[in-house]
Symmetry: C2
Subunit: 420 residues, 2 copies
């Protein structure tokens, strides 16, 4: 059940670091072979994996995990197959390592090139989602990184089996199996020590609840890429098409309300509120959504609850939505500046000028025109899977795929030049 049983915490990190040096110069073919072995290995080990998962689910029920958490924790044949598909999509991507970002010949004849290299060792701290174990490991291997996984005690049995499959896959093609390490066995202490492992871990990605992410951002001495909560907005402009407004808001709220790219607040142009809101809110209400509105909204839709100050800043993760009528684009942008977490915002409009202003002036990781905010996703963007969705501006912003797990290095080739 535990791949590496009896191996100390420090030793696992050292193994990951040593393995990362081999991974860094491994060919694309070899890394893809490891991924293919991983996809096949998941299918071959499905019985063992699902048995371990059943144990975690049983423990989860005893520990009274919520239905939502239990659902995230659960694997079945279809979900395992989807993981193998994602791994094969990742294998099919262009190898980011060695790509030239830019380069030039200096006037003195020296050639400089900026090329993509792996980080080295990527750490991940997440909660109760065994699919993240596979997604992050596959993205890390593709990008030539070793990975240290802390997936949380709730999924410990499942993750143990999954990491065993990943290690076997690496070993089967001649890559060091140490490139994938789990530290679930060390509990909370392991997570704390991972955050202190500056010099052994190059970057740490927390993925999960707002409080988990906040803890990692505050406490980690290893550089962190913050993945973030989404207080996501859709602005219905004066010229919004009624059908698009209705369908996009409904899709963005109802298709999967518990995720970060689900919409939390709808802003509506005052001149279009009476035309648009009845249809938009009817479709939401029919799907069981609770409407929280400002005064004008409530004059149009009397069933709406009063939206309080806190509501506008809340990621509900549930079938609740806030609705506010604004004077126009300026007020919409100002509202977004005040309450957005910088994840995703979308405008529904027929006006080219307003679409371009929204794209330029809204300072979020993903800014959309006439599309559902649910598209902010590594899989949808063609990345195969995602490490998470970065809401910070440093290094990576938006869905993170293989490129976001790379750094760069400058190579300089001279013929004896010195500086004058």
């Amino acid at each position: 059940m535990d791949p590496g049983h009896g191996v100390s915490f420090d030793e696992r990190l050292l193994r990951a670091r040593d393995a990362s040096r081999e991974l860094a110069t491994a060919s694309g073919d070899l890394k893809n072979a490891a991924l293919e072995a991983m996809a096949t290995g998941l299918a071959n080990a499905s019985e063992k994996i699902l048995a371990a998962n059943a144990k975690d689910l049983e423990n989860g029920r005893v520990n009274e995990l919520s239905a939502g958490l239990l659902d995230r924790l659960r694997l079945d044949d279809a979900r395992l197959a989807a993981l193998s598909t994602a791994i094969r999509e990742i294998a099919a991507l262009t190898d980011p390592i060695g790509q030239s970002v830019r380069g030039s010949r200096l006037p003195n004849g020296v050639r400089i090139d900026q090329i993509r290299v792996p980080f080295g060792v990527v750490g991940a701290i997440y909660e109760a989602r065994p699919n993240v174990t596979v997604d992050i490991a596959a993205l890390a291997i593709k990008s030539g990184n070793a990975v240290v996984l802390r997936g949380g005690s709730a999924a410990e049995n499942t993750n143990g089996q999954l990491v065993e499959v990943i290690q076997d896959a690496l070993g089967s093609v001649g890559l060091p199996s140490g490139a994938a390490q789990t530290i679930d066995e060390f509990g909370r202490d392991g997570a704390t020590r991972l955050m202190q492992a500056r010099g052994l871990v190059d970057v740490l990605v927390p993925r999960g609840s707002a409080s988990l992410i906040q803890t990692v951002v505050t406490e980690s001495r290893v550089p962190v890429i913050e993945t973030g909560a989404g207080v996501v907005h859709i602005y219905l402009d004066e010229t919004a098409r009624e059908d698009w407004a209705t369908d996009i808001v409904h899709n963005a709220k109802v298709q999967r309300p518990s995720v970060c790219n689900a919409v939390e607040t709808v802003l509506v142009h005052a001149a279009a509120a009476e035309k648009l809101l009845p249809g938009v809110l009817r479709k939401l209400a029919d799907s069981g959504v609770t409407i929280h509105g400002d005064e004008v909204t409530r004059s149009i839709w009397p069933d709406a609850l009063v939206a309080t100050g806190d509501d506008w800043a809340t990621e509900h993760m549930s079938l609740d939505i806030c609705v506010r009528v604004v004077e126009g684009l300026d007020e919409a942008i100002e509202h977004i500046r005040t309450y957005s977490t910088g994840h995703t915002e979308s405008i529904i409009t027929e006006s080219v000028s307003n679409a371009e202003r929204f794209l330029a002036e809204v300072d979020s990781a993903v800014v959309m025109v006439n599309a559902s905010t649910r598209f902010t996703d590594g899989g949808e963007f063609g990345f195969g899977a995602e490490v998470g969705i970065s809401t910070q501006k440093l290094h990576a912003r938006g869905p993170m795929g293989v490129s976001e797990l790379t750094s760069t290095k400058w190579t300089v080739r001279g013929t004896g030049q010195v500086r004058s």
Copy 2:
């Protein structure tokens, strides 16, 4: 002397943030006009600037600053002219803002594009180098960012005059003068508050001594790009050309020993030590360099002091160099892994295989073949100037120019698509 006298700390950060929103969408022409006005303004205000600088130098003498610090602090007509030249080189660069990094049309018809955007507000904490005020402000303006500068009390009078020139230049072309702010007036407290200004400052760059950088990395709640110390190595391979080895090592140590890209340690292949070292060390000794050597080196060059364990990990910033004879490339790479700060390393070799192995396996920001380590520099790389040299792997690595002061944003353009 103080541009913004009487304006509170918080108000200055708010002004920078408001100004950053205008800068973010300013055209390349307008930003270049501001830079040209800045270059001209420096020349026009040279008398006032040099008078303020004389005051800082006088205070520095009273406070018994070292000769090195006083030299960094000093401006004269030639140095001012060099700053204007650098500003015009930056103006001549392609505008990074709006550049498309990558993009595609998804199978469902949705168009996604990753485009370069400014960070917003860039903070800089540095020491006693007025040229950094101008370099960072110019790079920030070119990349559409506002900038908050904390240049240290030793250069307070000079920086005050420089920031006034920058603000006037911005205002003269119709850009918000608030986009450049100095907080020198607030002393150490100002630096501390800048590090706490999460949400108002998007990224913080410390530039200066190792202790300054360490303080910022440890204490800042704002994301930091670490610029770093350089324990820089040159490896003389078995096939190294004698003339290149001699000239490159000499240039890398002697041309400017007090900077981070100066070499600290020379590693020599055992089979070439007797051939190479006498010439290499003679030229160094003739320039007043103190040699610290291992046992084998001292058998070849008896004047060498004994290199102690600490020496190998020390950035001397002086005319001292450490020399070690190694068995070959593997031992050289292992030594570099142990002692390098990941800044710059160079190999002198005629062997293509060894050159490529060195480039691939040495994990530093800049890895060179047959060139002086002094080339790791934004100006030399064609960036006009540099924000600093990043030794971290997240976001930026190596000399940081305008591109490194940008983030990205995804724009998504649909025609009513929802996720199924």
